[in-house]
């Protein structure tokens, strides 16, 4: 049985996920409004009420697209600003 389910849900802020949710199931947010949720009944219900389920490949593709956009934005910065931001180029994210 899969450990996780994957979905897209827009974080609307307060009460989007609660402390009780965090105690009930695994939950991680990623770029592109992608969420990785523990494959439990409560986790599945949480996603059903807030977003749309995706396959892992679909979710990974969304995250990859967001990382590509962030990398392109970083690459377009003048060198001086890259230094000032004092940050490395955004790196790939592999969903669990």
């Amino acid at each position: 049985m899969a450990l996780f389910i994957y979905g897209v849900a827009s974080n609307y802020g307060k009460d989007f996920f609660t402390a009780q949710d965090r105690q009930n199931f695994f939950l991680r947010g990623f770029p592109g409004d992608v969420w990785v949720i523990g494959a439990t009944e409560k986790g599945a219900l949480w996603l059903a009420e807030r977003g749309v389920e995706k396959t892992k490949a679909e979710a990974q593709a969304i995250v990859d697209g967001e990382v590509s956009k962030a990398q392109a934005a970083y690459d377009a910065l003048p060198e001086e600003q890259k230094t000032n931001l004092n940050r490395q180029r955004p790196t790939a994210i592999n969903l669990p």
Binding site: N11, Y12, K14, D15, F17, D21, R22, N84
Partner: protein
């Protein structure tokens, strides 16, 4: 065998009931409950939950204040720095009309929401600029830091702060400075020069510096404690990193997020004055360069890498949590559709209504809700009607216009807690409108002037007379809203029966401005809240669907979905606010028969609860 007394220095109490949880000093207390035959304890745990989103996604942001009164300022974008300033009330962020005088990123911040300090940062070149916030606006301090820097640690209060470490444009620095409220004075340096560190503390003589990058790029998680005369190296963090969010004091701190590992971590560590403990729970959204505010046990993290808008709230204690949800309340004594409400969730007033199709006369009965049950009070309205515009509290309300058995009405009545008294009438007779404000300073808007046309009319109540003011942009009836006489939000409704709408308008005391629409267009909707924080629930998609249970939350900018009501309904009364709301009466189907059912919306609540260790 080692006994509990030998380990803990105290014996296990034998009690007939659980003791009262007092404060964090109660943590770890163990007792035997003889009534339930269980060994129990107060075992604190920590958890992150979502808070209201920042209005603008911001990275490399600074913060100050508490979990329920926080301040966010500075950051990127743009890459050259922003002066944006937002205020948090524990539920939602509000953009401050004015920002920092010097736009910047990677700055330091400390203090409270109404007395904060912004210091240093990148513009993009390093600055020593210091500004003070008074709850409304920033003022540039005449003198700045002695050492120009960004990515420093900063902590304290507006009249007693510290800035330490950071990056001067070429290297990491170790210098430390003390702020008196007016001037910066050099103080003993950190033992380890670094940048991207974070700090916690309450004054310029008590601070904790932790994490950061040591040139040319090591992250040992070094921690140093300052006592007013020297920095002392203490136990390091478990996960060395930079660009964390932080909260707390020298002896009770919290660190969360940061980098490495790349692209970011959500790791959370708790400092007890001696050592760091990694929490089993992490930020839901891993990120670095976020802002932080609050205490070790009640903190808030916001913004960060990816220009995040996400806010998360940390609570550490012996709490159990009840999920945000709708729950059933006590039934009305008199079924009523198109009734209106005033007051709060636990002290509400039910006003007027329309009972059953072709049935009994319109409702004049007034009822009080106390959080669990409705009680009919002796006072009855002078004019029986439904769909009034209402405002005020349970014991000080105004009800204006509405629909009487012969048509739309202009009557207005004021309630003082014991009787309804007729006042001067509204200027435009109409029904199925909505109201906001108080008994003596109200606003009514929309409705229909019958038997067909819908209205844009808006009127303001001074406490003695109604004055027509600028109209809604969109004519409609069956709308809802919330707020004050000078700051109201109106949403939903429509030109029924020809259709329903989703449009939302914001009133600034002078005129209405169209803002982002509801996700689900509907009329005869319920609503409560304020101009910047409201809730919309139920309604009708007339004529396609009689009643819906959809619920949406307004954050001052846009609408998002919340868990649905238990019973789909339309044309009901409402009171309360975004986080504590009451919905009562209305109709649930095609028959228009009114219901007595009541529902209560409550956001998540934390309650102290003990843990059972063993059962015997």
């Amino acid at each position: 065998m080692t006994t509990y007394n030998e380990i803990a220095g105290r014996r296990v109490n034998f009690l007939s009931s659980d003791p009262t949880y007092v404060d964090t000093n109660s943590n770890g207390q163990v007792w035997y409950n003889s009534s339930t035959a269980t060994l129990k304890s107060w075992l604190p745990t920590g958890a992150w939950s979502s808070g209201g989103n920042l209005n603008t996604g911001t990275n490399q942001i600074a913060g100050a204040g508490t979990q329920t009164a926080a301040l966010a300022f500075g950051g990127i974008p743009p890459a050259t720095g922003t002066n944006r300033t937002e205020l948090y009330n524990g539920i939602a962020w509000t953009s401050n009309p004015t920002g920092l005088n010097t736009a910047r990123f990677q700055l330091g911040g400390f203090g409270t929401q109404t007395a904060a300090v912004a210091v240093g940062g990148g513009t993009p070149g390093e600055t020593n600029a210091t500004e003070k916030f008074n709850g409304t606006s920033w003022t540039s301090n005449p003198t700045g830091l002695n050492t120009t820097r960004r990515k420093m640690g900063a902590s304290g209060i507006q009249t007693s702060g510290l800035a330490y470490g950071g990056f001067n444009g070429a290297n990491s620095v170790s210098s430390s400075e003390s702020f008196s409220g007016t001037t910066w004075t050099n103080t003993p340096s950190l033992n380890t020069a670094r940048n991207g560190l974070t700090g916690a503390g309450v004054s310029n003589t008590s601070a904790l510096a932790f994490g950061g990058a040591i040139d040319p790029g090591a992250y040992p998680g070094a921690t140093e404690s300052y006592n007013g005369s020297a920095w002392t190296t203490v136990n390091s963090m478990n996960t060395g990193r930079e660009a964390m969010g932080a909260a707390g004091t020298q002896t009770a701190a919290l660190a969360f997020g940061g980098i490495p590992p790349s692209p970011a971590t959500g790791a959370t560590e708790v400092w007890n004055g001696t050592s760091w403990t990694t929490s089993p729970t992490t930020l839901a959204t891993a990120r670095h360069s976020l802002g932080g505010a609050g205490t070790q046990t009640a903190a808030v993290g916001f913004g960060g890498s990816g220009n995040s808008t996400a806010t998360e709230e940390w609570n550490f204690g012996v709490y159990s949590y009840s999920a945000a949800a709708w729950a059933s309340g006590g039934n009305l004594n008199t079924a009523r559709g198109y009734g209106r409400g005033a007051g709060t969730q636990t002290a509400a007033l039910a006003i007027g209504g329309y009972p059953i199709t072709g049935g009994t006369p319109y409702v004049t009965a007034t009822e009080y809700y106390n959080g669990s049950a409705w009680t009919t009070v002796p006072a009855t309205m002078n004019t029986a009607r439904f769909g009034v515009g209402s405002a005020g509290t349970q014991t000080a309300a105004i009800a204006a216009a509405g629909v009487n058995p012969t048509g739309v009405d202009a009557a207005s009545e004021s309630y003082n807690g014991s009787t309804w008294t007729s006042t001067s009438s509204v200027n435009t007779a109409r029904g199925d409108l909505w109201g906001s404000g108080t008994q003596t300073a109200a606003l009514i808007f929309g409705g229909y002037v019958g038997p067909g046309p819908t209205s844009t009319a808006t009127e303001s109540w001074s406490g003695s007379s109604w004055t027509s003011v600028n109209s809604l942009n969109s004519a409609r009836r069956g709308l809802a809203g919330g707020g004050t006489q000078t700051a109201t939000i109106a949403f939903g409704g429509g030109p029924m029966p020809s259709g329903v709408g989703a449009s939302t308008e914001s009133w600034n005391g002078t005129s209405w401005t169209a803002v982002n629409s509801l996700t689900t267009a509907r009329a005869q909707i319920g609503g409560a809240g304020t101009q910047s924080l409201a809730i919309a629930f139920g309604g009708s998609l007339y004529p396609s669907t009689p009643a819906v249970a959809n619920v949406e939350s307004w954050n001052g900018t846009s609408w998002t979905n919340l868990p649905s009501m238990t019973t789909a309904r339309y044309g009901f009364g409402a009171s309360g606010n975004r986080n504590s709301t009451l919905a009562f009466g209305g109709a649930t189907g095609n028959t228009y028969d009114a219901t007595v059912a009541t529902e209560m919306w409550t956001g998540e609540i934390a309650t102290a609860g003990s843990k059972t260790l063993t059962t015997s």
